[in-house]
């Protein structure tokens, strides 16, 4: 049975009215399949949010370490003036896992703000993609977005892909997108090792440092859980 794939296809819809604030946090560790990529969950999830009222806020935080394949793009439509959308994500893929995740921030109202922080970690034969859209409509004056999408590669058989779409049709919008893809710094690793931290622990520590901005957004008990999950999921990734 564990060689089969199971499908998980949930739908989540959030609506925030005036001055309302929703924080939605997910830590996902479904069965990822075995180390050869047999079995595992297909995690295809629809998540969307509407900031309908002025000064409303929707914040998505996710830590994705499980599932054979994850497709998930929590989105926010920023309709109310001064509304805020956030997306904080950590996605880790090891062995033959694939994660394709990101967000859509659609700025319609005035003075709307969105922040995107996405951290992808690929190990083994894992594939990680960030796919996102930031759209600023013609009436969304004084709207802002900041996106930071970083990918970390552990090993030479994995892959990282960053596909951000940015569509702006208002001159008073300010949109900034930054992305980096690197491996773990040799200097950082050596520094940790010189202080006596073994390679596996050093990598786990550096990876968690890499994800810190996102873990900070999780409720405390979740953050501890997420951290532990990351370490388990990374097991065997460093050789």
């Amino acid at each position: 049975m564990r060689d089969d794939n199971q499908l998980h296809a949930a739908v989540v819809e959030l609506v925030a009215l005036e001055n309302a604030e929703i924080k939605y946090a997910t830590v996902q560790n479904w069965y990822p399949g075995d180390q050869h990529g047999n079995g595992g969950i297909f995690n295809f999830v629809t998540k969307r949010g509407l900031c309908a009222g002025a000064h409303s806020k929707i914040s998505w935080t996710q830590v994705e370490t499980g599932s054979a394949i994850t497709w998930k793009y929590p989105s926010v439509i920023l309709k109310g003036d001064y509304s805020v959308g956030e997306f904080y994500s950590v996605a880790l893929t090891n062995n033959y896992q694939q994660a394709d995740t990101g967000t859509k921030m659609t700025h319609l109202g005035k003075h709307t703000r969105s922040t995107i922080i996405s951290k992808g970690i690929s190990a083994g034969h894992g594939q990680n993609s960030y796919r996102g859209l930031v759209k600023v409509g013609a009436k969304a004056s004084d709207s802002r977005n900041h996106s930071q999408c970083d990918s970390l590669l552990l090993g030479d058989t994995c892959g990282a892909h960053t596909l951000p779409y940015i569509e702006v049709s208002h001159p008073m919008a300010q949109v900034e997108h930054e992305a980096t893809t690197t491996k773990i710094s040799d200097d950082q690793l050596f520094y940790c090792q010189q202080r006596g931290i073994d390679t596996e622990a050093a990598v786990a520590m550096l990876v968690s440092g890499f994800c810190k901005e996102v873990f900070h957004k999780l409720p405390m008990e979740f953050a501890v859980e997420a951290q532990a999950l990351m370490e388990i999921s990374l097991e065997g990734a460093i050789g």
């Binding site: 013609a138 590669l153 892959g159 702006v168 049709s169 001159p171 919008a173």
Partner: protein, 453 residues
């Protein structure tokens, strides 16, 4: 019926037939088949998501006839008053037809060659046959196939090992406006053998003030650039078509070990325009720097599509594209860096920055990274915004009025793309062109909201 078929049907003429060279006929026929096998791009295709060429594919463009006396005179005038004025070699074309009397060519010494492609078909058949089509692929590139099916003339540059041209080569393509819709397919074939060096500028010009009811014109150029070991090329492209001048161009580059390409692409005018710049870094130490500046106004549409393939270890690519978009114009930027599995120690950086100057302007930017090796340093950044408020305040505090301060900062924003160019007539004239365009943009209206870097 595919759009490709329709496109062919609308073109009254069959592909021109140059008799006597079966290989060329075969080359064209193969390209024609590759073109016919593809749909013309629509917005549903990822690579054409933001660029609608429907109006183009429904216009009956016919092959441009050789210029008459009036066009020749107009071309001469444009060349003297509008075009870049660079020392060195010049090849001038009117609607795709080479004009010896407006050109400045001399026979290069030794094995080096610089001549119109049509002439090269006769005189340098071995070279052409050997290299034509070698730096490009048809799949996913319908306009490269179209150009290959229809090509008739253009430029051939061949530099043997260690041949270093000190003077730039200026290729001027003038598209006259008129009541009929014409199309031309210039083809450039540039081969630099090991250690060779050159500078080549492609300039596309339309009439600055076209007559009323001027018909749409279409230019569909393709450049193939082949750089051998340690070859260095500075490639410039200046696009200043008129509002009815549509332009879909391909620049396909193949780079060997330690070769360097510096490309600077400046777009200041045109209708629906697209540049597909594709660079393949085939061997260790190959380096490419792609700089671009676009200043769009009116209803202009410009789509810059860049793709850099890091195929082997130790290559480096750097991209800086900047845009200032006004009126109802729309800019599209898509930069893709692909690091293939064996390409360790790749260094790929990409930056795209934009200023929107009007309520109706739009920018769609999509910087992409596709990484399949781990020992890499890759980054990209994209911004859309206004001028830095702190900088504006600082200049104000030094007594500068707002329009001046804005103009200063906007100019600085634009000129950053020219910084890597060495001092000389090219840089000076590009800077001057940029300046004039900015003044024109600022002139029409109160200097709007603007940008940041």
């Amino acid at each position: 019926m595919t759009m490709a078929k329709r496109f062919c049907e609308l073109q009254a003429h069959a592909p021109p037939n140059i008799s006597g060279w079966p290989w060329l006929r075969a080359f064209r026929q193969q390209a024609q088949r590759a073109f016919a096998a593809q749909e013309l791009p629509t917005l549903r295709q990822e690579n054409w998501k933001y660029t609608n060429i429907r109006s183009l594919s429904e216009t009956a463009f016919s092959d441009a006839p050789p210029p008459g006396a009036a066009e020749l005179a107009q071309a001469e005038n444009v060349q003297q008053t509008q075009a870049l004025s660079l020392p060195g070699y010049r090849l001038t074309f009117i609607a795709g037809h080479f004009q010896p009397q407006l050109s400045q060519l001399e026979t290069l010494s030794g094995a080096a060659r610089l001549l119109p492609l049509k002439q090269a078909f006769e005189q340098e058949q071995a070279l052409v046959e050997n290299y034509l089509g070698s730096a490009m692929e048809y799949p996913g590139q319908p306009f490269a196939a179209l150009n290959s099916a229809r090509l008739e003339d253009g430029v051939l540059l061949y530099l043997p090992a260690n041949c270093q041209l000190s003077q730039p080569i200026h290729c001027l393509f003038y598209t006259p406006s008129g009541p009929h819709s014409h199309v031309s397919y210039p083809r450039l074939l540039l081969m630099l053998e090991p250690g060779a060096q050159a500078q080549l500028i492609e300039e596309y010009l339309g009439d600055p003030v076209p007559p009323e009811n001027a018909a749409a014109q279409f230019t569909c150029p393709l450049s193939e650039i082949i750089l051998a070991h340690d070859a260095h090329l500075l490639h410039g492209k200046v696009l200043r078509e008129g509002p009815q001048g549509h332009h879909i161009a391909g620049i396909h580059v193949s780079q060997a070990e330690q070769s360097h390409l510096h490309s600077i692409s400046i777009t200041l005018g045109g209708g629906i325009c697209r540049n597909d710049l594709q660079v393949k870094l085939h061997a260790r130490g190959a380096q490419v720097r792609l700089d671009g500046l676009y200043m769009l106004a009116g209803r202009q549409h410009l789509d810059n599509h860049l793709r850099i393939d890091h195929l082997q270890a130790g290559c480096r690519s750097e991209v800086l594209y900047k845009g200032i978009i006004d009126d109802r114009a729309r800019g599209v930027f898509n930069g893709l860096a692909v690091v293939h599995p064996q390409a360790q120690q790749s260094d790929a950086r990409q930056i795209n920055k934009n200023l929107l100057l009007s309520e109706n302007a739009e920018i769609d930017t999509k910087p992409e990274l596709q990484i399949d090796a781990d020992d890499v340093k890759c980054s990209h950044g994209a911004t859309v915004g206004q001028l830095d408020k702190d900088a504006l305040f600082y200049l104000g505090s030094r007594g500068m009025d707002q329009p001046t301060a804005r103009a200063l900062l906007t100019t600085a924003f634009a000129l950053e793309t020219l910084n890597p160019l060495s001092q000389g007539p090219l840089r000076e004239q590009l800077a001057a062109l940029t300046g004039t365009t900015l003044t024109r943009q600022a002139g029409g209206k109160p200097p709007a909201t603007t940008s940041h870097s």
